[in-house]
Amino acid sequence: MKNKKFYLYLAFSFVIFFTFVLAPTVAAGKGFPQKTITWIVTYPPGGGFDTYARAIAKHMPKYLPRKVQIVIKNSPGAGGRYGTNLLYRARPNGHTIGILNVPGVLISQMVMKTKYDMTQFAYIGACDQVKYCLSVPKNSPFKSLKDLQQAKKPVRMSTTGKGSSGGLMSIMTAEFTKIPYTMVTGYKGAPASMVAAIRGDVDAVMDGGIESQLTYITEGELIPLFVLGSKKEKYLPDVITIKELGYPELAPLGMYRLIAAPPGTPKDIVTILEKALLKTLDDTDFRAWSKKAKRSIHPSNGKEARDILKAQAKLYEQYRELLKKAVKK
């Protein structure tokens, strides 16, 4: 360490590094939007939320007053809470938006202390609703809900984690319908969880939701025993609903993909984003994609998104103790 040039060089390099890291994007002109919009996805690339966000981000710019780019920023971690936190603390100028998992991060707020408050976000809208079904493998001895309820040994259900959407659905369903159950957790991703059921390692699976399970159901690898809903599902018209089975309380359960801006984002900016989102969800090319990829679209505006949040919060509030117990079990 005798070389002075070395220190100079080192210091110079660090200056470059910090400039790179902290470089602000330069705004141009007035009005919204002024620069690239960052869209936070709270999961790694390749999953459901990521896919929807990318598809929308592709078609949305042309519906904004100025056609800026919308760039996806994957911020996974802590079961979705890391990205949710990032969105919560971002500058409320409309240049950062995010896609949130409800009830996922909502439940987190209920059972533990979080740095975000779901009721404070400025909701732009929602793009999708995922309904769930309980499926068993091809040669399963269980052929109906009744069979599950009368199982001699606890029904093994696979899930990525008890706090995940699929895990939540499984716990709620099993506790409510009094199926004797045990959760087998820790699978890396919904596909792994579904394959566990296909393989016969476990008896049933709800992970992935109807939209991801559909591909295996069509192939006959998974057999859906019932869907959580009050009316028949579009792609599973022959499967009985939980309401018909006598448990209407479970019918409203599902996962919603809500799109929001940080708390405090000005109303007029939120409206611009909301209009752009709704136009995108109605866009011909976007619709063509959703049909081809078999990804459903459930467009909602900002107010409807807030209503969804409120309804979900109310729904799960009644089961707070049950959830706390089951998630920690």
Binding site: M1, N3, F6, Y9, L10, F12, S13, F14, I16, F17, F20, V21, P44, P45, G46, D50, T51, R54, A57, K58, I72, K73, N74, S75, P76, G77, A78, G79, R81, K115, K153, P154, R156, G161, K162, G163, T182, M183, V184, T185, G186, Y187, K188, G189, P191, A192, V195, A196, D201, V202, T215, Y216, T218, E219, E221, W289, K292, A293, R295, K328
Partner: protein, 498 residues
């Protein structure tokens, strides 16, 4: 099948496909070489740009990126002791010592050849196994996974060679570190010291960057001089490197097979493959003591398994819709974005796209290897520059790599802390590789173990009443008692022992 293949081939006659394959190749090399970046980030960034393209062209492009990442990563592993991507870690073990000895060109030649041939091997196996993909995916559940990871953990003892107590200690520390974070198995947060940053545990990439690269940089800052040592000759000859791969044919085959098998099993991850292949090579070699000091077979083992695994990872991805690795998960996302339904029917309905992926991977690998062979002379020159210039630049690259992953400054802090930690581990004679193996495999083993027990309602028989599990268990026992048998025999043949 033939029509799909020919369909894919016709795309190679298009100008845009060819240009994109070249472009993808370069992108993959750069992202692979820059520590911390790697395939996942490259794919995630490029994916939006593929939207308007013909899906076939898009997937030629994407697979071209994936195909060169592995070799790109080996460049920094060899020249800078920094794995460009986590699966290149084992290449540091013999690649870097070779660079230090002045044989960087030879090392690059070995890597380029092993990468290219390993990839070809992996792809051939992939094509052969497509008809039985379902059977294969069904074969590997948590018990098999556990046995495999256990096998990987056993290798810690072999990696310690000569330094057994220190090695086991380092391995144990690694395992403990891997337990930090939320455990989905138990539903509790462990050892995170109350911080949300550690909720997901210690992030692997920044940790590896610290342990491998930064610790070495600290070492050089203290020592000074050049990577290649003051008096060494100009890097050896590339062609010698190529010859080495052919000289170690058995090692190559063995490592490639290990790579493909581990690549096929979703979730184990490429990081494991190259270590297991390395240790297996060390174990079956005549001169295991030379491993870690610049034995060409070490690079052959690490890089051929690394590239073969990519072919393997494609199998569950396209055959069943479950990603064989993180890159594959992004690729699946890409499928959906292009309107292709993923799952078992992908092969049936879009076999041409599968062939596009294969061809893209193949061509990109060959291009990357050729690039490596041609440019090794210039790349090797890095080892002759005084480290005072290298250290700051590489340090910045490392910090950028650590940061870019999640745009979280604490990852950079982690890398720094890991770097200091790794430096002192080295100084006091604790092998870093044991720490890394323990860290990567520790919590994986625990998860698989408990998943297996949950599946079996708590019965330990689940580890013994399945074929593959028993086979791997047998291998483990074999590997453990073999040294005693050979040692015993040697002891009988010679008079003295100690």
């Amino acid at each position: 099948m033939i029509e799909a293949f020919l369909q894919a081939l016709t795309y190679l006659l298009r100008g845009d496909t060819i240009i994109l394959i070249f472009l993808g190749n370069i992108i993959g090399l750069i992202f692979g070489a820059l520590p911390g970046l790697g395939g996942v980030i490259a794919l995630a960034i490029i994916l939006p740009f593929t939207f308007g393209m013909d899906p076939m062209v898009a997937f030629f492009f994407l697979s071209a990126i994936m195909g060169s990442v592995a070799f790109g990563g080996s460049i920094s592993a060899i020249l800078l002791n920094t794995p460009g991507t986590a699966p290149n870690a084992a290449t540091c073990l013999d690649g870097y010592p070779m660079a230090c000895k002045g044989e960087a060109r030879k090392a690059l030649g070995i890597s380029a050849t092993a990468c290219g041939l390993g990839a070809i091997f992996g792809l051939i196996v992939l094509v052969l196994l497509i008809p039985v993909v379902r059977r294969i995916v069904m074969l590997f559940g948590p018990p098999e996974f556990f046995m495999l990871v256990l096998f990987g953990l056993i290798t810690v003892a072999f990696a310690a060679k000569g330094n057994l107590l220190n090695g086991l200690f380092a391995g144990g520390v690694g395992i403990l570190l891997s337990m930090i974070g939320y455990s989905p198995v138990f539903g509790i947060l462990r050892f995170n010291l109350g911080s949300e940053y550690l909720w997901d545990g210690i992030e692997m990439i920044p940790f590896l960057i610290g342990i491998f690269a930064l610790s070495e940089l600290i070492n050089y800052s203290v020592k000074g001089g050049k990577i290649a040592g003051e008096e060494q000759a100009a890097g050896g000859k590339t062609i010698d490197g190529v010859k080495e791969v052919f000289r170690h044919k058995a090692c190559f085959l063995q490592s490639s097979i290990i790579g493909v098998v581990i690549g096929i099993i979703p979730g184990v991850g490429g990081t494991v493959a190259n270590f297991i292949a390395y240790i297996a090579a060390m174990h079956t070699a005549d001169n295991p003591e030379t491993f870690g000091q610049g034995n060409p077979a070490g690079i052959v083992a690490s890089e051929s398994s690394n590239d073969a695994k990519d072919g393997g990872a494609l199998l569950p991805t396209v055959g069943f819709g479950i990603p064989g690795s993180a890159e594959m998960a992004v690729l699946l996302g890409g499928f959906i974005l292009h309107g292709l339904e993923v799952g078992p029917m992908l092969i049936r309905e879009h076999l041409d796209i599968v062939f596009a992926l294969l061809l893209g991977l193949l061509i990109s690998n060959i291009l990357a290897s050729s690039f490596g062979l041609l440019m090794s002379k210039h790349l090797a020159k890095l080892t002759h520059i005084n480290v005072y210039y290298i250290v700051p630049m590489v340090a910045v690259l490392c910090f950028v790599g650590a940061y870019v992953l999640r745009e979280n400054i604490w990852d950079v802090v982690l890398a720094l802390v890991a770097g200091v930690f790794g430096y002192f581990m080295m100084k006091f004679g604790f092998p870093n590789i044991c720490l890394v193996i323990g860290f990567i495999l520790g919590v994986l083993a625990e998860k698989a173990f408990h998943q297996s027990l949950m599946m079996s309602y708590g019965s330990y028989a689940v580890f013994f009443n399945r074929t593959i599990t028993l086979i791997i268990l047998g291998l483990i026992i074999l590997v453990l008692i073999l040294p005693f048998i050979t040692g015993f025999r040697k002891g009988r043949n010679s008079e003295s022992d100690s």
